[in-house]
């Protein structure tokens, strides 16, 4: 049922659109504005998702929407010196770094950078002005606004975010790092929009970090469209380490063409409420699509990962591995769906979700799902929800490890299966370290931040290892 405040917020969005139309449309291309109007109509029709929708059965947005949010349609954040409030401390990770503050591209160097090899990295708003042909060729082609309500809302209000275009045959050496910062002294609702294009045979590594530098309520609803053209190789990492009062919905739409390889890896270390939607369309044969996730949640945090993979073409392989450790009253949802269409012969699709519950109150809902219409395929799915293996615990203790150490060792080992999929060594080490700190109860969301928390008590989330 649509609750009163969600329908109020829906009305507010529709009203805002009318009022702020000019600012919202900005320099967007006519095509983008057509897509926008279509999405707005969808949003008007469907509103916010409710628990009646299959994708949202175990995740209720409505309590999060009961807030007086502020909106920024004209980019108040543009000229803030972001270095003063945030520096990434993965020292040996040499990246091309981009920062979004409250959903807007921060003009640190230039709004758009065109590298010597033709790669374009920068602000989507600026790209719509300067490279409208490239934007129009791709934008809206992957995002399924008819199917996903939150993607429709994002599209209706799309203004700015990350834009990357890697021309055919170009390998971008440095990983591109997107740092998404929320920092406001009042509740904000943000909708960054990202468009990433890897041309034929192009190679790109994208590291996407979500941080909140505030204890205030924030709601981020982001859409990323990512296109991997023929023979392209794209690795996408997401690190989510956000405050207890932050809500994050990420709608990720990946489109893969012939013989492309795509991997995604979502590490959720903290976040009051997190919903990640990965929707992958494999439209041509011989692709590889790998999707990994790790979530470590406690207190009353909630994380929901939805992975939809559509095998439309033959001889491709998709692999999903999502693992989670839940403490206190934390809840997690995993829904993985693999659709193998009739012509997608010789598809290999694997799906696995494993959860460890540290308390009786923690809860995991897992729904692996295969829908297969081709007859020559190799598919499997599996899901487990359980506790640490008591036999293994005894084995470790019988060698002299105390319970706490044994439990930590097993949880770290459990998590490492996902962490080891990270192919950038510096990033893997750093994340391994963060995961270990997180599992030992030593990681604060303010670990990343240099200044902000001087004024406030750091927020730490301890997974209490004494419980089992």
């Amino acid at each position: 049922m649509e609750t009163t405040h969600t329908s109020l917020l829906k009305d507010k969005f529709l009203e805002l659109y009318q009022k702020e139309q000019e600012a919202i449309r900005g320099q967007a291309t006519p095509l983008v504005n057509r897509i926008r109007r279509h999405a707005l109509a969808r949003f008007r029709e469907n509103g916010f998702p409710t628990t009646r929708q299959e994708h949202w059965r175990f995740t209720d947005l409505s309590p999060l929407l009961n807030t007086e949010f502020a909106f920024d349609f004209s980019n108040q954040s543009r000229n803030i010196d972001v270095d003063k409030i945030f520096t990434c401390d993965v020292y040996d990770l040499d990246t091309f770094s981009i920062t979004l503050l409250n959903g807007w591209f921060v003009y640190k160097h230039a709004p758009l950078t065109r590298l010597a090899d033709g790669t374009i990295i920068g602000s989507l708003a600026k790209a719509m002005e300067i490279y409208p042909a490239i934007v129009d060729q791709y934008i809206g082609k992957a995002a399924k606004t008819d199917q996903y309500e939150m993607a429709a809302l994002n599209t209706a209000f799309l203004q700015d975010g990350l834009f990357i275009y890697v021309p055919d045959g170009v390998e971008v050496e440095k990983p591109v790092q997107l740092i998404n910062i929320v920092n406001a002294d009042h509740p904000v609702f943000l909708q960054p929009r990202h468009l990433v294009i890897a041309g034929k045979g192009a190679k790109l590594t994208l590291v996407h970090c979500d941080h909140s530098l505030t204890h205030n309520i924030s709601f981020t609803n982001t859409v990323m469209e990512l296109f991997a053209e023929q023979d392209a190789v794209v690795d996408h990492y997401k690190i989510q380490n956000k405050g207890r009062n932050s809500a994050l919905v990420t709608n990720n739409f990946f489109h893969q063409k012939r013989n492309s390889r795509l991997s995604s890896n979502i590490i959720t270390l903290n976040g009051g409420f997190t919903k990640n939607i990965m929707d992958v369309s494999i439209s041509q044969p011989d692709c590889v699509s790998e999707h990994y996730g790790l979530y470590l949640v406690d207190s009353n945090q909630h994380v929901d990962n939805l992975v939809n993979i559509d095998h439309m073409a033959a001889q491709s392989r998709s692999d999903q591995l999502y693992k989670g450790i839940l403490d206190d009253e934390a809840t997690a949802v995993f829904s993985g769906k693999v659709l193998v269409r009739r012509h997608a012969q010789q598809t290999q699709a694997f799906q696995n979700n494993k959860n460890i519950l540290l308390t009786d109150d923690a809860k995991a809902n897992t729904q692996p799902h295969l829908e297969i219409y081709a007859d020559d395929v190799k598919c499997s799915h599996g899901a487990t929800v359980g506790q640490l293996d008591p036999e293994a615990m005894f084995y470790l203790r019988s060698r002299g490890l105390c319970e706490r150490t044994a439990r930590q060792m097993m949880m770290i080992a459990f998590a490492n299966e996902v962490v080891q999929k990270i192919s950038i060594e510096a990033l893997q080490k750093r994340i391994q370290n963060m995961v270990e700190k997180r599992l030992k109860g030593e990681l604060s969301i303010c670990d990343q931040c240099v200044l902000h928390c001087n004024s406030k008590e750091p927020t730490t989330f301890n997974i209490d290892l004494s419980k089992l």
Binding site: D389, E391, A392, F394, Y395, L396, R397, S398, R399, G400, L401, C402, E403, T405, A406, M409, M410, I412, A413, F414, N416, E417
Partner: protein, 253 residues
């Protein structure tokens, strides 16, 4: 070193060990033999500290201390070692990391400084040579994907690393071919010292050709019904457990 008096153990109300007595002194090797279900593995588990069993009666003292006052990890740090019949696979935990943690936790308990990385590696190389395991095994996850023989060799390697005062080897010979059996037995023999002791639990006499026991005990239905020297093991092998059942039945008459 180890004294067991009138031990009675049950699981879920079902009695398994029914009044068992045993004494093991420094430098001795004891073999406990018996058919399946006689309580051999339960005895090993109770000594090592597995918590699923209920100790209904009796006492076990180890190095003069009541063993039931100590959790499993403390027993291990006090020098007790259990070689598992079915070593557990622990994906993601490397043997090297596991052993380093185990040794350093033990050293901390004993008031010693932790081993440095270099010291640990040296120790590991030395022990690997001693128990004839190839070098790559220790980089792998604990027992993950190991063959039966590799798992048992890994138990002996861990034993060598931890240098226990009292080692209990629970059917270490089961599932081993003769070459693996020799390697395991060799390892155990090399680790024998004047001040440590070993309890070998086995179904068959075969292992005792390689690890020669000072005492042999026959466990039947939760009790040690006969003790003797290594000749007893040979006799048992020849005549089978039915022989000893009859013999003790006659004794009772």
């Amino acid at each position: 070193m180890l004294q067991i008096k009138n031990l009675t153990v049950s699981i879920h109300g079902k009695p398994i060990i029914k009044g068992l007595n045993l004494e093991v002194k420094e430098g001795e090797v004891h073999a406990i033999m018996g058919p399946n279900g006689s309580g051999k593995s339960t005895l090993a588990s109770v000594i090592a500290g597995r918590e699923v069993f209920d100790v209904d009666q009796g006492e076990i003292s180890y190095m003069g201390k009541n063993i039931f006052d100590m959790p499993a990890e403390t027993r291990a740090r006090e020098g007790l070692f259990l070689g598992f019949q079915y070593p557990v696979e622990i994906p993601g935990v490397s043997i090297a990391n596991f052993m380093r943690t185990a040794i350093n936790e033990k050293r901390k308990y004993l008031g010693l400084d932790p081993l440095t990385g270099a010291e640990f590696l040296r120790l590991m190389e030395e022990k690997k040579k001693m128990v004839e395991i190839h070098s790559k095994l220790t980089n792998r996850s604990v027992n993950e994907g190991f063959s039966g023989g590799e798992k048992k060799k890994n138990e002996i390697f861990q034993m060598a690393m931890l240098e226990p005062r009292l080692a209990i080897l629970d059917e270490t010979d089961s599932g081993l071919d003769i070459d693996a059996l020799k390697v395991v037995a060799n390892g155990v023999n090399k680790l024998r010292k004047k001040d440590n002791a070993t309890i070998v639990i086995t179904h068959y006499q075969r292992l005792l050709d390689y690890i020669v026991p000072d005492f042999v005990h026959v466990l039947l239905d939760g009790r040690i019904i006969k003790s003797g020297n290594k000749e007893l093991a040979m006799e048992l092998e020849e005549k089978g457990y039915d022989w000893i059942k009859k013999e003790t039945a006659n004794d009772a008459v």
